[in-house]
Amino acid sequence: MAATPTLPLKLLGRDWRGGELALIATALVLAVACVTAIAHFSDRLTRAMHIQSQTFLAAERVVRSSKPVDPAWTDEARDRGLERAETVSFASMLSAGEQFQFAAIKAVSAGYPLVGHLEMRTAADAPREVVSQGPGTGEVWLEPRLLPLLELQMGDRLQVGEAELLVTGLLDHEPDRSDNLFSMGARVMMNIADLPATNIIQPGSRVRYRYLFAGDDAALESYFKWLEPRLTEHQRVIDLREGQPRVASALDRAESFLFLAGSLAVLLASVAVGLAARRYSLRHTAYVAVMKSLGAGRAKVLQIYIGQLVALALCATVVGLLIGSLIQAQAVSLMADFFPVEPPPSSWNPLLVGLATGFACAFGFALPPLFRLARTDPMQTLRRDWSNPDRREWLGMVMGPTSMLLLIWWLSGSLPITLALFAGMALLVGGSALVNQLLVRGQLASLGGAWRIALGSLQRRAAFNTLLIAAFGTGLLAMLALVFARTTLIEEWRMQLPENAPNHFMFNIAPHDVERLQALLDENGIAATEIYPMVRGRLVAINDVPATGREEQAGALRRELNLSWTENLAPDNRIVAGDWWDRADEGVSVEVELAARLNLALGDKLRFSIGGLEVETHIASLRSLDWNSMRPNFYMLFAPGTLDDFPATYITSFYLPADQKLLVNDLVRNFPSVSLIELDKIIERIRDTIGQVSLAIESVMALMLVAGVLVLISGVRSSIAERLQEAAIIRTLGGRRGLLLKSLVIEFGLLGIAAGLLAAIGAEATLAVLAMRVFELPFSLHPLLWLAGPIAGALLVGIAGTLACRSSVSQPPLKVLRELA
């Protein structure tokens, strides 16, 4: 004998009027929407990053080599249907008439770039063209600043090694320009077919070969599997992950943070689901006892209620998925500038994540009360006793947290982070219990009638209040920390910069421009820092031991360093070991933190490779310095004279007041080959970006607070019958409605203040860590935070709680007492 299959749905429709199901559905919608929005957002961000990384590589994968590779490798790629291209990069001196200039040359094959595009102009005043091929044979494209340096015009001939090439374009953008801004040579791009004619590449030349590949994922995968055993120590495969490692790790962190914040919202929503399901199960004890007396067995009861739960979870999840997708679309359009490229549409994965969240919340927290419900004793109909003994409560205690642990582990991808989150929550709940105890043990009851009623209610519902303080405490903590970090902390960081900290950097200054530039700055009363020479070189050996293989210790070994020299120690530099040199001294002064990472000590021998030549020196001193001073600073400062033989460019920084901003135009016009960075604009951009990112995070926090409100409503609903009875008795005994309302305001207001206080403590601690670790600021208290937390808590919880309970004081007492009887 089976119940009709649609019976659970019919009963679901009838039960909807009860209210608990709507609450469960709302909490599920909230959790699913929150996680789906974040998953969509992160999915699209990852895909955008993927495309961006491919662009940075100009290919999907690249093999980098210091020697030409076996031609069989590229033949194999062709046979597997892959697209291929090749670039060869080296530094060399160019000449045009009497002018000479050191440049970074890149010879490119047909097909380059495989991903992304080049931007060039055919004349200085011509519009930019987006092209998908490099220069043709016999042609050369130059970075615009080379034209004045070499006194060249478009159509002139340029000597590159032994070859003479025609200048046909100005190169504005290349996707895989990986040299950093301070690269000594300006870019020159030529066709790879002209390379032999230049005769530049000789045995021992410092040349970087890059082999670019693109194509079908499976073909790429199988090709690189084939290639892997053939690679030597001279070759390295660069994939997407390495396209932009720093940006990727920053975004990874933002993504983890969003997921964690989302997980907290899910956790709170789950608590709301659990509370509502518990209330639902209690209210349905009579239902089930009657159904059982009418012949429904435990299996049928379970079938009906689980059927209802599945239908409810499915509907709520679908609505949540839709809302989450809409939120995400809105967030992406708000943060369009933050995305590296136009974000592609999302995959199916976020929908799967949303679905899993919906069902984990529903089943983890609502199933245990339903199991209890199915065990209802039908004899209760005769005893007229509707208590639902909480036997096997452990099932609920284990199942809910376990399902959340697994879900958050899956979402965050990290068990330690998940466990830390749970430990944090446990700590918060412990703190809430303590605050709650302090609250009810205080002497507030002596303040009068409404206070006594409110305090009595707080005492009777201690467990729920602890939960409530923790729920709102979490939401408020995250919100306060974020808002204060975004506003106060950044402002404090800006304030601690010296009044006239340099706000403009100039680099790539040619030696012959140094005096002219100094004169122009002096003429306008601009005090610049010293103009430092800069030579690029790589640290290749420490005490005659090659530095290769020690890249893990310091990123500085992975790239070329800016090497400089000066007679005068800058004001933000301080010698911590050894001595600053006299004129006759030799050696190098090393930044102390880098020295620590590389285990360097005074007197150690360092060997540098500069433009193919090697220079050996010893450590004369260790220096500490302030990277935030906005002055040019160097890991390695040489004694004057050591690097005189190497071609150098110069760098300086200066403070330009807002009313002298027009001087930037003069500088650009008079020194077209010099690069200028306007830091004030960059700081503005950083602030905008942080503002946009914060907006996304704050919207997740807002969802957390909504989840907190749901917990409150679910909790209040469970106690509403008790509250109705209390209110009815007090009113029968002559208590006025105003007194009861006042007691509600006091009760929830106090809970809000407690939550806000807890949030303020947590937020202040978070800000302290951020200030000291990230912004390198001294610890300081934020009095506004201690005021804002309790006020925001009192308002939020006070209003939401009083509204949720107002029906308990507005119903006529006689009606209440009769109904409850």
Binding site: M1, T4, G18, Y287, S293, G295, M379, T381, L382
Partner: protein
């Protein structure tokens, strides 16, 4: 006439902190198809416990019970529920209508639990028989106490899937005033006679007990006395303590 309900040496004890408490002690009875039995006694005499055991809502600590020929004491909870779904109807003192369901939905419930596709039609028919055909869409809170109990009676009769119905009524007039109680009892006996169902009734009212074929008086979990009336052309119920 075969026995519709038979109990043999029923005893029921529940554990308490002061040791086992005896609720029922060595009760035997037999009720033929179509007969009615009233159980009376003071509060705590064990009459509701006996009703619950006879209906298969719980299992006695000792003794055996046969309901419509099946030994329900040898069955597990699911099997007993199946027997209840087939041939047991209940009328409770406090009606036990589900407040979220309309009168018709309440009466439909037992048929729906059986998977009956004509639950709505059957519910309308039974509500018509108790004179509430105009109240199908009303919720319990919109009905008077007497009307609510009439809906509960309709639900009890809608519970039977065949001819072997047995109706258990636990103080059906306990929550009603005298006038409404009278009407409800008239209706109950009328329908019972029409449908030839067996009736087991727990009541405080002597007048109501007298309308039954048999009357069993209980005190402290034991049968204190029994009045057995001959049924026209039928057998006598047997009661022993």
């Amino acid at each position: 006439m075969s026995a519709m309900l038979r109990a043999e040496s029923l005893s029921h004890r529940v554990p308490t902190s002061e040791g086992p408490l005896t609720l029922l002690n060595n009760i035997s009875l037999q009720l033929a198809r179509g007969e009615s039995l009233a159980i009376t006694g003071a509060s705590g005499s064990g009459k509701s416990t006996l009703l619950g055991l006879l209906a298969g809502l719980d299992r006695p600590t000792e003794g055996r019970i046969w309901l419509a020929g099946d030994e329900i004491t040898a069955m597990d909870e699911e099997q007993r529920a199946a027997v209840r779904a087939r041939c047991v109807g209940f009328v409770f003192q406090t009606f036990q209508l589900l407040p979220g369901l309309t009168a018709q939905e309440n009466v439909m419930l037992p048929s729906e639990l059986r998977g009956d596709r004509n639950a709505a039609g059957r519910a309308a028919e039974f509500l018509g028989r108790v004179g509430l055909e105009h109240r199908l869409g009303h919720y319990p809170r919109q009905l008077s106490g007497g009307e609510q109990q009439r809906v509960a009676i309709a639900r009890a009769f809608a519970s039977f899937s065949g001819n072997d119905g047995i109706l258990f009524a636990d103080e059906p007039t306990g929550s009603l005033d005298a006038g409404n109680g009278e009407k409800v009892i008239d209706l109950l006996f009328e329908l019972n006679a029409e449908s030839a169902t067996t009736l087991v009734l727990v009541t405080h009212e002597q007048r109501l007990a007298e309308r039954c074929h048999s009357h069993l008086r209980m005190a402290a979990g034991e049968i204190q006395g029994a009045d057995l009336q001959p049924r026209d052309g039928g057998n006598l119920s047997e009661v022993s303590a």
